[in-house]
Symmetry: C2
Subunit: 622 residues, 2 copies
């Protein structure tokens, strides 16, 4: 591990990557997002290790290697949970002190040993398709998730190798990838996965090994869709060839993972029709099929995207995995384009529909993230299908990747967060520090230090929701040029530079397109990137479900120390709630019985951490 | 066929039936509902005969009896479609002239011959469980619909016997019922059906044959629920014992058929806990889980009831079968209680969420009946699962049953419709004629003729939506007493009496309970029993989806002769529509760009008969 090399996504040499990530070991995160990172390492990762053991997920590997005699336990895709945990635990090693590192390392070693022992001699590795099920391997690509699990194994192995330098798991993954490459292809067995994921993994394996066969196989898997090898259904995104897709449909996570994989292929191959397809799919999602939380997937049935503007609040599915997938795809599109609209969406989903998936204690989760509830939706310790919990376990430890990137002659700041990074720009060592309690305040104080004066651009994201971002450099107000959502500061930098950013954090009332019929005459409240909601627990004397907020009354923002939530922003507004009656339908009467009063809102991603009760994001308008 | 005896439901001797139906042959229907009856007989029944043949549904019987060698075709429950058609075709014989009767009779005879030939020697009859599948009979009660199909056979056979006096099909049905009685029971094989239906059928078979074993078996099947024999799931209403049900949940048609069957059992046995359960379930549905169309079933997933107040418009499921089932249940509850609230609901669902299921041409259908659409929902000629189409084929010919009933000393009018009936009250022959174009106007002129002066009550339903119903008898205004939703006119009647009813037909704006969050600040328009909607075809220059109606502007009602719909009421209102923008979410702005104008509405049940386009029931409020 001589030179920094721990990338979540290593597109340093990708021809279509306008932006290049900084390696994890060159970024330290210590603010609002840092608290989630810390909790993931201290609570989520260790507690999930226990759960993986207790639910038989690791025993499935022991069974496959013949160490124990039991039945296969749980779902046929449970291997993937173990792999996702390995990926997250590997990143976690980077951020901890020795004692904790040894603990994590020892869990990790135990798990990896079981994984590797379960691999077949021919390289195949999936604990479900063993013994009597061996003959069924690769016979049901539409449903059985073998390539999906393989993808997670490859990603875990790359992460583990990059962090530790140990090749054991990586070699197992390569053996499996080679096995897959031996089986599938245009002139071999034709096929593609019912659940995309392998595509991203193979491109990353190409980036790691430089072996083009993995890229070529990823490209093949993307282009083989629509030929019926993955069931031929919209659900599995096999209803049409990839390049003919025009609308985000079917299973949301499958669709988004495919978009991630296809973007990865594009980063390497630069096939322009890939980018055209991806761009129009993104427009379709962002302008017609996304919740204001950044969550996606409107339907329980098929965990699917809905029709355009079909965005029910109470029955939103908005799976946590889909939020993570949405973030991952936007990150990739950002790397390609350096367009702030993708970073805007990363921020929107991160602070709202993604962080909502994990509880404040770091060990309870939401699988489904509704925007309205009558009081029944509660966070769970685990799910029989644990994809969301383990996806959080791998995603949260990767957070430092997403704050900064660099390009030929610039350093880019995408997310504001108490943090620092070091890198080389134009051959010169550059250190950038953000001091801020963002998103609590919009003040960000940066220090940029360079070895010796050097000219390059500092690109600071201007959130699309912020009217007017003020910048002072070394105490002087500067007028900035905006380039695709970034404030470009182009100058020869002194050794030490002080950059002060002031992002307005006023409360914003947001409305939906009028075709989102459920949200007509309703508003959602944002402050900065944070979406707020009204929970019963903060409003015991009013009915949050029928509360109509007065947009003219003004809003007060308070920072309080909540015993459960910690330092938390609350918004207070006023309006009235409607007194309810018994009848389901009655003659319309304009002069309804109303009770005036105030309402308290809390960040949406923190809801349901205290007591269960009704919650609402889209408030009626007075 | 000496004395009138053709009842759809014969509860003349049922101890708990407050009201008794009139036999079909004593009622003639010739108005708005009559036009649906006529179309059913002239178009629906003959066209469905062709479809039953063309889709292999009748061939399945030929195959089972060994007449042809083919594979079983379609769904395992397709026999039920044939039975429902037989039931509807049997009733139809009553209303037609000789030539048409012979045509229908010959179709019917052919079909019945095939059914009877397919019966096993032991009485079992289901064309799916034949040959190699014979050993699987009664092994999967949760899913395989054997008892459901048996129920429809029994109902068809009773209808056919009552209309024609021929016993062939009835005897086959009795043999199967006896077979079932030999298999199931507390001390035999325990079980109950995953899809209720057999319960209603067995009670009617008890009413026809007087054999108490059928009633006892129906009672057993109701009470055996909740013990896991029908899958133990909410979906199959087997999650709890029937008497512990408190909420309408699970598959809507299953749940409602169970309620119908349990009401039938109650009509005969008078077990008060049955009635208590049914009453509280009804309250739950009518006050928390029903669309304003009278349709039910909020979810595509599981074709199920939703949570309380979960009533999405665009993704309403509101299956046509569920509307029919809701009507059937309310009819049974009305027979028990003589409470107008049940007749109100019969009327509400009939004129809206039920008649919406069949097109104006009588041969296109809706399976799903949304309350809002973006232009994709179209009527179909047939469905692979044809339950709704064939349910309409049996329901529409039964319409004359629901207009009138009688009780010990009263004749009851439940639905207003150009029609007449004859019956005996207090031993005297009574003839009642309604002359009206209801629901187009609210004027109903009745003639009541009796052989000789006699005292009894005339009970006229006062629709709950009508503020003030005016009544004149023999040209004199009378003050009427209201009894559970009925205007009671108690007097000694002259030989000929003229009763004039004037029901106000003003346009009514209806609002939802504020917990139906999608309908907040929205209204639905009714005129009389008819719910209206706005279709694009009548409003080519405005956007019906964003139209906000001005409740103060007044509404104009016009009767027009539409080339497709015929004589149809349209409502015109005014307001504005909002000009749409591209963004999915944007800063709230009170002064939206609006365009004032008018809007034309058409009866909801007639929508999608002309060209496809957006449709909306719940209009925004200006």
């Amino acid at each position: 591990m001589s030179e920094p090399s721990i990338f979540v996504l290593n597109c340093l040499n990708s021809p279509k990557a306008t932006l290049k990530p900084l390696p994890l070991e060159q970024v330290r995160v210590d603010g609002y997002l840092g608290s989630y990172l810390k909790k993931a390492i201290e609570v989520t990762i260790p507690s999930q290790y226990e759960l993986l053991e207790n639910t038989g997920r690791i025993d499935n590997f022991r069974r496959a290697s013949g160490k124990i005699k039991t039945d296969f336990q749980g779902y046929f895709f449970n291997d993937s949970d173990v792999y996702k945990w390995v990926e997250g635990c590997s990143y976690s090693l980077l951020y901890v002190e020795e004692e904790q590192r040894e603990k994590l390392q020892s869990m990790l070693n135990r798990v990896i040993e079981e994984i590797v022992a379960a691999q077949d001699e021919d390289g195949y590795l999936n604990t479900f398709f063993t013994f009597e099920k061996k003959s069924q391997r690769w016979t049901d690509l539409a449903n059985m998730h073998e390539l999906y699990c393989a993808g997670h194994l490859i990603q875990a192995a790359i992460a583990h190798y990059r962090v530790t330098g140990e090749r054991k798991l990586l070699e197992a993954a390569i053996r499996f990838a080679d096995h897959i490459d031996g089986v599938f292809g245009p002139s071999k067995k034709r096929g593609t996965s019912g659940h995309p994921e392998i595509e991203m993994a193979l491109v990353e394996l190409f980036r790691e090994t430089k072996d083009p066969k993995y890229l070529s196989l990823a490209n093949y898997f993307v282009l083989e869709r629509g030929n019926g090898f993955a069931g031929g259904r919209e659900y599995t995104v096999d209803h049409k060839p990839f390049l003919q897709l025009e609308e985000m449909t079917g299973h949301a996570v499958r669709m988004l993972y495919l978009c991630c994989g296809a973007t990865d292929v594009y980063l390497e191959t630069g096939q322009s029709d890939f980018f055209d397809t991806l761009s129009s799919l993104w427009e379709n999602m962002a302008t017609k099929k996304m919740y204001v939380t950044g969550g996606v997937g409107s339907r329980y049935e098929g965990e699917a995207f809905g029709e355009v503007y079909e965005l029910p609040n109470r029955r939103a599915y908005a799976e946590t995995c889909a939020a993570i997938a949405n973030f991952m795809w936007n990150y990739r599109m950002l790397l390609v384009t350096a367009d702030g609209k993708f970073a805007d969406l990363m921020e929107q989903v991160l602070y709202n529909g993604l962080l909502s998936g994990v509880s404040i204690d770091g060990k309870h989760y939401f699988y489904v993230n509704p925007l309205e509830d009558f009081g029944k939706h509660k966070r769970q310790e685990w799910f029989k299908c644990a994809c969301c919990s383990t996806n959080l376990a791998r995603f949260l430890p990767s957070l430092p990747s997403y704050i900064y990137t660099k390009s030929d002659n610039a350093i880019w700041v995408h997310l504001y967060e108490q943090s620092d990074c070091e890198t080389f720009i134009a051959g010169k060592k550059v250190k950038l520090t953000q001091t801020t309690d963002y998103p609590i305040s919009g003040l960000v104080e940066m220090t940029l230090t360079v070895e010796q004066p050097v000219r390059f651009d500092l690109m600071l994201r201007k959130p699309s929701w912020a009217e007017d971002v003020q910048i002072r450099i070394n105490n002087e107000q500067v007028k900035s040029e905006i380039q695709k959502g970034y404030i470009r500061i182009s100058r020869e930098w002194d050794r030490t530079n002080r950059i002060q950013l002031s992002i307005p954090m006023n409360v914003r009332l947001i409305e939906s397109h009028p075709y989102v019929r459920e949200n007509v005459n309703k508003v959602a409240l944002f402050r900065g990137p944070i979406l707020f909601c009204a929970e019963h627990v903060d409003n015991p004397n009013i009915d949050v479900l029928t509360f109509a907020v007065d947009p003219r009354s003004g809003f007060e923002v308070q920072l309080k120390n909540d015993p459960v939530l910690g330092k938390t922003l609350f918004i207070q507004g006023s309006g009235h709630h409607v007194l309810t009656h018994e009848q389901l339908y009655k003659e319309y009467f304009a002069g309804k019985e109303r009770k005036s009063g105030g309402i308290t809102l809390v960040p949406y991603h923190l809801w349901a951490n205290r007591e269960a009760g009704p919650m609402v994001v889209w408030l009626d308008l007075r």
